[in-house]
Amino acid sequence: MDPLSLSLDVPLREFALRVELAVGREVVALVGPSGAGKTTLLRAIAGLQPARGAISVDGDAWLDSARGVDLPAEERSVGVVFQDYALFPHLSVRKNVEFGRRGDAGLLDRFGLTALADVKPRELSGGERQRVALARALAPDPAVLLLDEPLAALDAHTRGEIRGELQLLLRDADRPTLVVTHDFEDAATLASRVGVLVEGRLRQLGPPAELVASPADPFVATLTGANVLRGSARAAGGLTELALPTGELIRSTDAAEGDAVAVVYPWEVTVSRTPPNDSAQNHIAGIVASLVPVGNRVRVRVGAVTAEITADSSERLGLEVGGRAVASFKASGTRLLPHPRS
């Protein structure tokens, strides 16, 4: 039996949130566009939002509409890290962490908060606030841990470091944990499994690598950072040819017929000034729309395709915004997915 299993039905304004999920002693991330129902799902589990269905934790029913069970939030053993952390502004770090009844004396120490114990939340940095929020949520030793956008309130330059820190803290917490985020990279870093929630439904649930390797639909592919090119597919000489609206042809080793999308990851794409003569079967020529350095790499946007190449290559090629370039990728690195008619 999984420590946390739930089957929920929450009516929202535009659609109903319907999710079935079982979580072991692991971190599961929920990603998806804003308004998909991610926060609502967390609130329903915490007992802060009316819901129908069933939630059971270690065999205890927190919610069982059929039997009329619906524990109030204060009787569910749940730790919540709210978006923007919701620290009590009038209480010191120590008082915040000890607000839950079973205060754990060693907690401040383990979270590196001893020196900040008597400080009020407004004097803390974003990363410190997050640690306080997590320590506070874990202090009563909850059976389930929920985090709502724990990295959204942070500056871009501290985010990476704090994400690594959070990853370790969540691993140490070692209990069923749900993390809501809109960023796939955050989800992939923090979680062992990632669920993609769109309009109240789980589109796909699996390890991050699985979502990248075989996205269930174009939305999941876009979310994982892939290039998604829409066109019309037909079989051609053992491969599949996808005709783009621009007239260009993309070849793939996957099979597809009719409306489809090609999914290509930026790190599978190479960039050159002129069409190269190599094994890559797909070449898309276009104007360089943007050059964005990311660490030692550069994200190059050529026409509708984004490539990720080393900073060295970018310099060697003399790429500049507005110049012409060719993006190339292999047929075997190109996934094809049917495009749902909407």
């Binding site: 609130r43 109030p72 204060e74 919540v80 607000f99």
Partner: protein, 274 residues
């Protein structure tokens, strides 16, 4: 032309200020300060001071004790007819005090709505000190409730949710989170309500009368002494000016108090926060 208007506007401001300040100053200038202090020593003034202090404190304590949880329930609650409840609470604010006094009389008086029941229980309120307490509570509580409801509405709902997920039961959520976070606004509303209660005249006069040493409060004493001993009336007036100034000073000086709810920017209690 533009600077003509600017000069006229400044002149208007100066005129308005003089109009408001001059009568207040006159209270102090008519009689030397020493005589004012001496006039406060008269029996009438001392009796009124005692009656006012006693009735105001009892009424104010009751308003705080009942009004604070009531304002929390209304401020945080989402229920049908909430706007109606808010309007009913504010209604006494716009009533002339004399109307409030009559209303109290026909409710709690011997021949009033609850008079029969209270007679049977041997309770007689009209024209006693209890009547003063009721009158003061009746006129000051809408002011307190309005400010307190707005203060509780301003408390971030997520913080209350966070407390609940930390196993806090409803009273703990109220006492440890909502109350301290609303404290600034509650303090401001409390000070205003206290000042309003101390100044109550019309409702008290009609419902409790003006019997020296029993129901004659400071404002009633001003009116009574006006014909007997003008110095005493002026001295009591000066006490009110000092008290009022102290209340305003406290409201302005304590930043936390004015941040959530101030005298000037009372958020309408009828607009719920998101």
């Amino acid at each position: 032309m533009r600077h003509v208007f600017a000069v006229a506007a400044v002149a208007a401001a100066a005129f308005a200020l003089a109009f408001l300040v001059l009568p207040v100053l006159a209270l102090f200038l008519r009689v030397p300060p020493g005589d004012l202090v001496h006039a406060l020593g008269t029996t009438a003034a001392r009796d009124a001071l005692v009656v006012s202090a006693k009735t105001s404190l009892i009424a104010h304590a009751a308003v705080l004790l009942i009004g604070t949880p009531a304002a929390y329930a209304i401020g945080r609650g989402r229920f049908r007819g909430r706007s109606l409840v808010l309007s009913l609470i504010e209604l006494p604010l716009v009533l002339p005090p004399a109307v409030a006094g009559i209303a109290l009389l026909v409710t709690f008086g011997r021949l009033g709505l609850l008079g029969g029941t209270m007679n049977a229980l041997g309770i007689h309120i009209a024209f006693t000190q209890a009547a003063v307490v009721l009158a003061v509570a009746f006129v000051e509580s809408p002011l307190y409730l309005r400010g307190a409801i707005a203060s509780f509405e301003n408390v971030d709902a997520t913080l209350l949710d966070a407390a609940r997920t930390l196993q806090a039961r409803p009273f703990r959520v109220f006492a440890r989170v909502a109350l301290p976070l609303a404290a600034g606004g509650l303090g401001a509303a409390s000070a205003l309500a206290l000042a309003r209660g101390l100044g109550e005249f019309g409702a008290t006069l009609l419902f409790a009368g003006s019997l020296q040493g029993v129901t004659q409060t400071l404002p009633l004493a001003v009116y009574a002494q006006f014909e007997v001993n003008l110095d005493t009336a002026l001295a009591i007036g000066a006490v009110f000016v000092c008290f009022g100034a102290a209340v305003l000073l406290v409201l302005k000086l304590i930043p936390g108090w004015t941040r959530s709810v101030s005298l000037w920017t009372f958020r309408s209690a009828s607009s719920p926060s998101a």
